[in-house]
């Protein structure tokens, strides 16, 4: 069960970190991430199956494509609407996910698809069953977590990203080009969503709703970890993974979809800043 939770967490952690970063800049919960993940899954599918690229290459290409899409959406849709309230933008982001999902349906139909890669039987390890694919997902997820941390903590651009998220005005005064930094952040996040699309395609199936199904667990992980805290997102992802696995012990499994919501609600009521976030000072 612990292992199940670990795989769930590895799947959710990278997009939760990306969501957290994106939230820092845009200041609203972006439901479009569901659409972005679906774009990643279908882009990787297109490169992998019809075009015949090996999966790692296809995944890289899909990350590029998704990064481009996310950046484009930001420039075309969200940037011109900056003056709107967070809630209006939230509704727009749901509309955007619906649009993306249906554009994909238009071109690919709702058929179930998979990558050109054989399913593997598990290794048995200390009573747990684990497949090489799952190990890869976990490792990649860790690598990304560490890389993202290094980027944010030790590089100039990472510091600039945090500065823009904290206080765009101050950052601008200090000579940070906020537009460029924002573009960079959206592209990084896009790449992560693209990768999540690939992982989701490996773990589940590729279909237009694949991203939407992951959205709530991702939100739960990011909120649990404290918005704006990529590390928190990893821990949050682990807890959400565990909670979903544990539900089945107490409740009929048909209630599982509700678990993410309940976690969010309970946590927000008890500790609105998340487990690892710092309390926000109200203006």
């Amino acid at each position: 069960m612990i292992f199940n939770a670990l795989v769930n967490a590895a799947l959710i952690a990278p997009p939760a970190m990306a969501f957290s970063l994106l939230f820092g800049i845009l200041k609203f919960p972006n439901f479009a991430i569901g659409g972005y993940i679906t774009v990643g899954a279908f882009a990787a599918y297109t490169f992998n199956v019809p075009l015949g690229l090996p999966l790692p290459l296809a995944a890289a290409a899909a990350m590029l494509v998704t990064a481009l899409v996310v950046w484009l959406m930001h420039v075309l849709v969200f940037q011109p609407m900056e003056e709107h309230s967070a809630i209006t933008l939230l509704v727009v982001s749901i509309a955007l996910t619906l649009i993306i999902e249906n554009v994909i349906r238009l071109f690919f139909s709702a058929d179930v698809r998979g990558f050109e890669i054989p399913l593997e039987r598990p290794w048995k390890l200390l009573g747990a069953r684990i497949t090489p694919e799952q190990v890869q997902i976990i490792i990649w997820s860790l690598v990304i977590g560490v890389a993202l941390h290094c980027l944010l903590a030790y590089t100039w651009i990472g510091r600039a990203m945090r500065a823009v998220a904290d206080n765009p005005m101050l950052a601008a005064i200090r000579g940070v080009n906020a537009t460029r930094i924002t573009a960079f952040t959206t592209a990084i996040c896009g790449a992560l969503f693209g990768l999540t699309g690939v992982f989701a395609g490996l773990d589940l199936v590729i279909e237009p709703l694949v991203g939407w199904n992951l959205t709530i667990p991702i939100f739960a992980a990011a909120i649990l970890g404290g918005i704006g805290s990529p590390y928190g997102a990893i821990v949050g992802a682990l807890l959400v993974g565990l909670a979903e696995e544990a539900t089945i012990l107490f409740l009929p499994s048909t209630y599982k979809i509700g678990v993410g919501f309940v976690i969010i609600a309970v946590l927000l009521l008890l500790r609105p800043q998340g487990l690892f976030g710092t309390a926000e000072i109200r203006k």
């Binding site: 609203f28 919960p29 349906r105 048909t254 209630y255 993410g260 919501f261 109200r282």
Partner: protein, 300 residues
């Protein structure tokens, strides 16, 4: 044809009641509710179950559904006073989903995925089948009118001013001696009341409800109605609800003229168009088709 317009008019009526209620909660009082589908389901199932399982007269079941929505609204509002609005969005979405899951899973009571058949309907014995759809349209129109008048009354009354003050800055409102909590809970509950009403009217109209009807996308359409119409403006909301319904339904007719897109592609196209409606409206008319009128603030 006229039968179709009557039935679409009835559906627009459900949308209008929901959108007016949301406008009261969000447009006027600034409280987010993404759990509309849950309130709608609550109203539909409370009224439907009372009639279908307990044989309660429709005339009592519909008010009971309203009260259920009222209680749910109050409870959600109490739960959420501490939340930031963007988080409240997710929590209320969760409330809606949990209600749907309960309806789906507690099938001994709700019939779950089998769907609940409701034979009883208001004045079903008195009015012949020929005239019934028209009667129902009138009934729904009267309910829209009542909802509209109540919402408009609240908006114009001192309470509306207080709510707007809370919406703009709750701390200042609190400092000015307004009971912020009471106003919020009350407004959310009133919104819930009307959403419950819409659900009950829907249930007795279609006479067959199942959990699949109450997916979160319902909330999406209502939000679009409010944003497109103009948040804060009750008349704008009526237009918004109508516009969204025209896009939802009107796009069906494209399929009758062209064979280029099959039914699957056509329905993808329809959702894409509706999404664009929202984005384009916001780009061209950022505050909706009929923006909220500015209130004069007397400076002293």
């Amino acid at each position: 044809m006229s039968a179709y317009l009557i039935s679409m008019g009835t559906y627009v009526g459900f949308f209008m009641i929901l959108a007016l209620a949301l406008n009261l909660q969000w447009g006027i009082a600034g409280m987010v509710n993404f759990g509309i589908a849950g309130f709608y389901a609550m109203g539909a199932y409370v009224s439907g179950l009372l009639v279908a399982k307990l044989g309660v007269p429709v005339g009592l079941a519909i008010p009971a559904a309203c009260v259920a929505g009222w209680v749910l609204g109050g409870a959600v509002a109490l739960l959420s006073v501490r939340l930031r609005e963007d988080f409240l969005a997710i929590v209320t979405l969760g409330v809606g989903e949990v209600i749907r899951l309960i309806v789906l899973n507690e099938d001994q009571i709700t019939e779950g995925p089998r769907g609940l058949r409701i034979d009883g309907r208001p004045f079903g014995d008195l009015i012949g089948p020929e005239l019934y759809p028209l009667f129902y349209l009138l009934l729904v129109a009267v309910c829209v009118l009542i909802t509209y008048l109540v919402c408009e009354r609240i908006r114009r009354a001192p309470m509306g001013r207080t709510l707007r003050a809370i919406r703009e800055d709750d701390v200042v409102a609190e400092v000015l001696g307004k009971n912020v909590l009471m106003h919020r809970v009350l407004t959310f509950a009133i919104g819930g009341f009307f959403m419950g009403l819409a659900g009950a009217l829907y249930a007795h109209y279609v006479q067959n409800i199942s959990p699949e009807v109450f997916m979160p996308v319902v909330a999406m359409f209502i939000w679009m109605s409010v944003i497109v119409g103009g948040a804060g403006n009750n008349r704008g909301i009526l237009i918004g609800a109508g516009t969204v319904m025209i896009f939802l339904e009107g796009t069906r007719f494209i399929g009758d003229f062209t064979d280029v897109l099959d039914a699957e592609k056509m329905s993808a196209m329809r959702i894409i168009l509706i999404g664009f409606l929202l984005i384009v409206t916001l780009r061209l008319r950022p505050r909706g088709l009929l923006p909220e009128p500015k209130f004069n603030v007397k400076k002293t």
